[in-house]
Amino acid sequence: MTLYHYLALSGLLFASGVFGVLTRRNIIGILMSIELMLNSANINFAAFNSYLYPDRPLGQVAVIFIITLAAAEVVVGLALVMAIYKNLKSVYAEDYNILKG
């Protein structure tokens, strides 16, 4: 297995995350897509760390940071989703347009 395979997988994962962010109507779906993109980054970090700099686990530290941030992001994001849902009774992103001019 080469590093290239990992990067290819992570690219695919990232692209599907981007696609999800751009196309999902459901706000929860968008959040999930963001998780996909973060995971693709995680794969990259871990793979680079293992293949290129195996002596120091800096990539893994980065992954831990990302996981932490992702957890925080999901917590806040979902809380926001719930708050918005309570007000607007909708989970569809295009309904969140009260700032539209």
Binding site: V18, V21, L22, T23, R24, I30, A93, E94, Y96, N97, L99, K100, G101
Partner: protein
């Protein structure tokens, strides 16, 4: 004393303002002020008069102060007093005072009593100013002011349309003459280079004026006198002016203002004396006036109008005398006429006040009802008819003598006019006071008037009785008023006694016939009236003079109408409206350019901005994922650029 003579008109001016503004706080609603001022003026004038007669005054007296300068010329305010001035002054102040007193009774109870006295004072002020001024410019101003007062007082009862019309007629007719006066004044200024009367007279006496120009100026000035003194052909306004109150008729339209024209000619007599043409114009105008006006009075039934025609006729005598070279006679006649004509008018006013009518056909038999008026009117009649020894005899005699000395035809006209005068006065007298009352109702209500009206009558009767004799005696008046310059023509020698005899015979005969005809054979005049209805009509229409002037008015009217139509239909339509049309069309073109080119350019920017905004607005969907897509696209493009190199 002469130094303060300027106070007289100023005092009257002040009185006029005072009466108008604060009259109601003074006794007699302000009449007291007017009478006090008039009395003061009379006292001063009488003092001056007697001093001057006694030779106790240094004449002529002149004093003036600079008023303003134009170019190198100086206009002044000042007084110029000579014998002529004093003669005029005494006439004006006497009649003014008596009319002031008389009006107390006559105007009693009038709603505009205060205003009447104010006007009287204003008139007196203007007349005095005109009399004593040293400058022809101030003379002209006062001349116009008396015209204004005349207008105001003729139309004093302006509720009556006829009074308002008469006031208007008087004003416009005299203005016609004043036009000539103004031009003449400027011509005179051009000749003499000054408005100062004393300097003008000096130059005229020294023969330093160009004769033709001075004569022309004099004739033009005489136009003013023709208007003011109601000479032929501008005499039409004076009979109508009788619409005013009788005291006004006495003061303004008999004694003083109408004499202003005569006074003006006398004032500038040296200038007139330069030119035989001017003298002839004055003389013949006067003679024709005397004749025509006297003839008009023959058929008139309005008592006051008879007197008005007689006034015109007598003014014609004065002009005749002046034009014939008898300066003293003219002024003498002015003085005596002022007294007896004022007397007649006031007496007539007294009758009017009693019977409330002007028409002699509604009078008759009033002599027992109004004895004082009757006697005073008789005295006035005799004076006017020229019966010795009344005032009119002396002055008219001198006038006729002067006319004969100049030209027998002038004398003839004057003599015929004198005969007619005696006749129509007899007629008026008989119709008013004798015979049976023709209107019983009016006759019953008639009564003698209060003392305020009869006392002036009596005073004036005395003057009408004695003034002629007293002033002619010892050539007293001639010492006061005399013309020392040379006349432009020779005068024939005339036997004074012959003229006096002839004129007396003429007057007595015609008066006697008049008295007899109207007292005992009133059917004869009526029959004559029937027979010669054409002439009666002619006389009643005043020789169609009114029609003649109204024709000019009509022509002017028609011409104005024509001009109006021309202006409206042609000038307005073609020029003004044409321009408007052209402007409109140009405006439309410009409007098109403006709308479709200029505005469109401006609008284009707006439209483009709007369209751009609308276009850009579509990008701003308010849809977050849309934005993200753009971000992604942008990132892709940058990446493509970054990595393609």
């Amino acid at each position: 004393m002469l130094e303060y003579v300027y106070i007289l008109p100023l005092l009257c001016f002040a009185a006029a303002g005072l009466i108008l503004a604060f009259g109601k706080w003074f006794p007699g609603k302000g009449a007291s002020i007017g009478i006090a001022v008039a009395g003061f003026n009379f006292a001063v004038a009488a003092t001056l008069f007697f001093k001057a007669l006694g030779g106790g005054l240094q004449l002529p007296y002149e004093h003036s102060i600079p008023w303003f300068s134009f170019g190198e010329h100086l206009a002044t305010l000042g007084v110029y007093v000579d014998g002529l001035t004093i003669a005029m002054l005494i006439v004006v102040t006497t009649v003014s005072l008596l009319v002031h007193i008389y009006s107390l009774g006559y105007m009693h109870g009038d709603p505009r009593f205060k205003r009447f006295y104010s006007y009287l004072s204003l008139f007196t002020a203007s007349m005095l100013g005109l009399t004593i001024t040293s400058s022809m410019m101030v003379f002209f101003m006062c001349w116009e002011l008396v015209g204004v007062c005349s207008y105001l007082l003729i139309g004093f009862w302006f509720e009556k349309p006829s009074a308002a019309y008469a006031g208007k007629k008087a004003f416009i007719t005299t203005k016609l003459g004043d036009l000539g006066f103004l031009v003449g004044l400027l011509a005179l200024f051009y000749c003499a280079g000054t408005f100062e009367i004393s300097k003008i007279l000096e130059l005229a006496h020294a023969n330093a004026l160009p004769i033709a120009a001075a004569g022309g100026a004099a004739i033009l000035l005489f136009f003013g006198a023709v208007g003011k003194s109601a000479q032929f052909p501008l005499l039409i306004w004076l009979p109508d002016a009788m619409e005013g109150p009788s005291p006004v008729s006495a003061l303004i339209h008999a004694a003083t203002m109408v004499a202003a024209g005569v006074y003006m000619v006398a004032r500038l007599y040296a200038v007139y004396a330069l030119s035989p043409a001017a003298m002839n114009v004055v003389a013949w105008t006067g003679a024709i006036t005397a004749f025509t006006a006297a003839s008009m009075a023959l058929t008139c039934f309005d008592l006051k109008r008879v007197l008005a025609f007689s006034t015109v006729s007598q003014l014609g005598y004065m002009m005749l005398a002046l034009g014939a070279g008898s300066f003293t006679a003219g002024m003498f006649h002015l003085t005596t006429h002022a007294y007896f004509k004022a007397l007649l008018f006031l007496a007539a006013g007294s009758v009017l006040h009693a019977v409330h009518s002007n028409d002699m056909r509604e009078m008759g038999g009033l002599r027992h009802k109004m004895p004082i008026t009757y006697v005073t009117f008789l005295i006035g009649t005799l004076a006017l008819a020229g019966i010795p020894p009344f005032a009119g005899f002396f002055s008219k005699d001198e006038v006729l003598a002067g006319a004969l000395a100049r030209n027998p035809y002038l004398f003839l006209l004057g003599a015929v006019a004198a005969a007619m005068t005696a006749f129509y006065m007899a007629r008026a007298f008989i119709m008013t006071f004798h015979g049976k009352p023709r209107d019983a109702h009016k006759h019953d209500h008639a009564h003698e008037n209060p003392a305020t009206m009869t006392v002036p009558l009596m005073f004036l009767s005395v003057l009408a009785l004695i003034s002629g004799w007293a002033l002619a005696h010892g050539e007293l008046f001639e010492h006061l008023v005399n013309f020392e310059g040379a006349l432009p023509f020779e005068l024939h020698h005339v036997s004074h006694g012959t003229v006096a005899l002839v004129s007396t015979i003429v007057a007595v005969v015609s008066m006697g016939s008049g008295l007899w005809l109207y007292r005992f054979k009133p059917e004869i005049p009526a029959a004559l009236r029937e027979k010669f209805s054409f002439f009666v009509d002619m006389l009643e229409k005043r020789y169609w003079l009114d029609a003649f002037f109204l024709m000019w008015v009509d022509i002017g009217d028609w011409f104005s109408r024509f001009l109006f139509v021309f202006d409206f239909e042609f000038l307005d339509q073609m020029a003004i409206d044409g321009w408007a049309w052209l402007t409109l069309k140009l405006g439309a073109v410009q409007g098109w350019i403006d709308t479709y080119i200029v505005d469109a350019t401006v609008d284009m920017f707006g439209t483009v901005s709007l369209a751009g905004g609308r276009l850009a607005r579509t990008v701003q969907t308010g849809f977050v994922q849309n934005y993200l897509l753009f971000v992604a696209v942008a990132v892709s493009i940058f990446a493509a650029i970054a990595f393609s190199g």
